[in-house]
Symmetry: C2
Subunit: 484 residues, 2 copies
């Protein structure tokens, strides 16, 4: 990156969202396209964000009884076929290993698209009695799904990084509570870490995870009015346990079938993060995830250089000692304006400017990345002040996203109104729904929007008494939207 | 694990090392065999050890300028072919993906056996000028090598977990220093974390990593007299840089070829750890890596139960507050002897016994896992005392391994002596060597031992003036051994 002129973002978030997103991802150094279509290379600045998301979630998982493990990358075809919904759901998307060295394999091996079919049989071995339950396993790994759509880094790639949790429980109640615990943690990571408010709900029957009893989801609204399925948590019922003989002896020595769950969050969360907060200057990151939270840019002339650098270094020490992630940009061959642009492009949440005035008055100037707000503050107590400003930056990002979300949930009472409202505004349209997949079809065909979720509370009254599409009695409220 | 009788280890470490190792791995809950030959499932107690090894190394890597990234799981066949030694070295071991969904791929994709061929071309894109160097990348991932040998969990599996570091530098000196920094860190993780002394050296020319200029290694001696290649660090010279056009403009704007390195440590380190320290009672772990460092076993009768449990819980709090990883085993349905056996099997380094005597005298009894040494110590100051005892346990493990190693390095002056010495004792035999691969052949053919390393110091005088095999002038000292 030696040339200044190709540094900046040239596309517009508002008018060319897709091109703008691709440009931000590449120019902020998050990812590049791999030579094979559908694959990306995650560069250090991108991977560091993923590592932080992992750290938060992994800590919460461990605090709530989850143990990490590692299962094979490959799944024998015969294992994938043991749960019929899984094979139907994933068969078109599986990458197959057919040769090892120079020899053709006797049985094809699937590169895991998800691991229920290899984990459930081991759970069946390890679980004998009710005392072995609950069993909660998780793995951080990559999975491959051979989808033929256009590559969009983090949003849609043939290989992606994720975590997949797999648990077994004695009863439906315990398994359902587990699925909800994980959905809570996903909501928390979106809201408290990514600064992204989400909607919670469940997927309609016809869009569940293959083999699941219930699929729950957190959905995040993107600035172009499309929704992202942020993470899913599945109550699998007993279907996998039956397919893989996952049973246990209960307290009376009766053999019973376990209830299982699975739940996953992928690097798509990073896609949602980048897409939502970033702008025409480049990447914007919340302080929770930014590899560098604060960049100090000293502004000097030849005659006061030493003094200003010394002051800046002292500020750096103070902030670093307080546990903040700080960079001091004292490069000689770049002027302050160049540095501002570069760090804005890379998404550093807070800039600290230190020039002759600041040194003289024992102050520093703080500049917020999202909106350029400036504040000149005392050098004394600069660490807590900076922490406060970082909190403010986070709050601004969250508030902006929340305002967008709240303004983008509309109602519709007829098929035409659904089509018109989504066509005009994007966002979510809630409508009464009879529960039949057939009533999604005309919307899907006309504008490629679908029912992305039904609000979590199953007993709530539908928004309208009649299904907006067929006019029969509405069973629930469906949220229609276009989806990533 | 509901049955007591199949809990314990039945095989002998001394007389049936292979069977004993397999039994320890499975009964201590570290790993199970996957349905496909050559693959294993890493269970939580095993994975937790790997996570701790990762934590140590990853911290040291980051402290020394390494950034994590993630490159695709698959490598196009044409990329693998661009460095001729790589394709010759790995082609027989590659697992090939030929189909995505229902379609045959236009180009076969290798499941990465190692990632030089996909990382080097991206380094070539990212490096323009000397200011972009050094570039130091690492990824934690799994790789697949389709070797047709018997599965030995962690030692030899078709898929294994590892880290692979890849760096680019302006000069040979810098690249060589980088390779040495990583070898130092591998030595440190073996010695300071795994409690395993190692020998440092380089591989003979004919056993280098494909395409490398020099392969350096740390070798650990196993109790059955075989050596394990513990980790390798390669100075790759300019071969990969040339194959993938990894060049940079130097300070005078001259185009130059970069020098690269790669270096990796796999979960084989866990195999060496388990094999070395464990015994006929089961797993033995150093406190550095043990998921549970201390287990407290209360010994009660019905009449004093409440008092003893209360005391044990207070000890647990004290130790936990001091940052130790502690379990209190207060299960009602198991007697103390059963618990001792189970925690010995699982490798907890230190047992704390709390019975009526301990409560009355305000003491606790500490028992060292490796040798059963007991010490009754004051309740006051129990946290620092326990930490001291954990350090002692570590020191015992290290000292035992060191004593074995030192006793197992012998000299030989002729081919017959090499064969006889390794045949009788195992271990390392050092001998003068002319440097020709041909002189390894007769040893390899006769007893399957090979030159596993040449000591690091290239200028040292050979141990003998003549090659032990051909009688020509010796260029260096070769260490012969059987190898895992």
């Amino acid at each position: 990156m030696t040339d200044g002129q190709d540094l900046g973002i040239t596309e517009s978030k508002e008018y060319a969202t897709g091109e703008w997103y691709a440009e931000v991802v590449q120019k902020a150094g998050l990812a590049d396209y791999a030579p094979m279509g559908g694959f990306i290379v995650t560069r250090p600045r991108g991977y560091a964000i993923w590592e932080r998301i992992q750290d938060y979630l992994d800590g919460w998982f461990k605090d709530t009884g989850v143990q990490n493990a590692y299962f094979p990358l490959f799944i024998p075809e015969s294992y994938l076929e043991r749960e019929k919904d899984v094979v139907e759901g994933f068969d078109p998307e599986v990458a197959w290993v057919t040769h090892g060295g120079y020899d053709e394999l006797e049985e094809r091996l699937a590169v895991r698209p998800t691991s229920e079919s290899i984990i459930a049989p081991f759970m069946a071995q390890w679980v004998r009695s009710h005392r072995d339950l609950p069993l909660r396993l998780n793995q951080w790994c990559s999975v491959v799904r051979w989808e033929a759509t256009e590559t969009k880094p983090f949003f849609r790639t043939k290989e992606f990084l994720w975590q997949e949790g797999h648990t077994a429980h004695a009863t439906q109640e315990e398994a359902w509570a587990e699925a909800m615990t994980r959905l809570d943690q996903y909501e928390r990571v979106y809201e408290d870490v990514l600064a992204l408010p989400v909607l919670r709900g469940r997927k309609p029957e016809h869009d569940k995870f293959p083999g699941a009893h219930t699929t729950t989801t957190v959905e995040a609204l993107m600035p172009d009015g499309k929704t992202v399925q942020g993470a899913t948590s599945h109550y699998l019922g007993t279907s996998f346990a039956e397919a893989f003989d996952l049973t246990y002896a209960d307290i009376d020595e009766e053999e019973r079938t376990a209830h299982t769950t699975s739940w996953g969050l992928s690097w798509r969360a990073m896609g949602a993060l980048i897409m939502t907060h970033s702008d025409d200057q480049g990447l914007v990151l919340p302080p929770t995830l930014a590899p560098t939270q604060v960049v100090i840019v000293p502004i000097w002339q030849e005659e006061n250089r030493a003094k200003i650098i010394e002051y800046a270094e002292a500020v750096e020490s103070t902030l670093t000692d307080a546990g903040l992630r700080v960079d001091l940009d004292d490069r000689e061959n770049r002027n302050p304006g160049f540095k501002y642009n570069e760090w804005e492009l890379k998404g550093v949440p807070l800039r600290v400017e230190v020039g002759p005035d600041e040194v003289e008055d024992r102050e520093v100037t703080l500049v917020h990345r999202p909106d350029g707000e400036r504040a000149t503050v005392d050098r004394d107590g600069v660490a807590p002040t900076t922490e406060d400003h970082l909190d403010t930056v986070f709050a601004k990002l969250y508030a902006d996203a929340e305002e967008t979300l709240e303004g983008e949930i509309r109602e519709a009472g007829s098929r035409e109104e659904i089509l018109g409202t989504i066509g005009k505004h994007g966002g979510y349209v809630k409508a009464g729904w009879c529960g039949e997949a057939a009533c999604e079809e005309p919307v899907k065909e006309a504008i490629a929007a679908e029912i992305v979720m039904v609000p979590e509370d199953r007993d709530a009254e539908p928004v309208h008494e009649e299904c907006a599409v067929c006019g029969n009695d509405a069973e629930e409220t469906a949220y229609f939207a276009k989806s990533y």
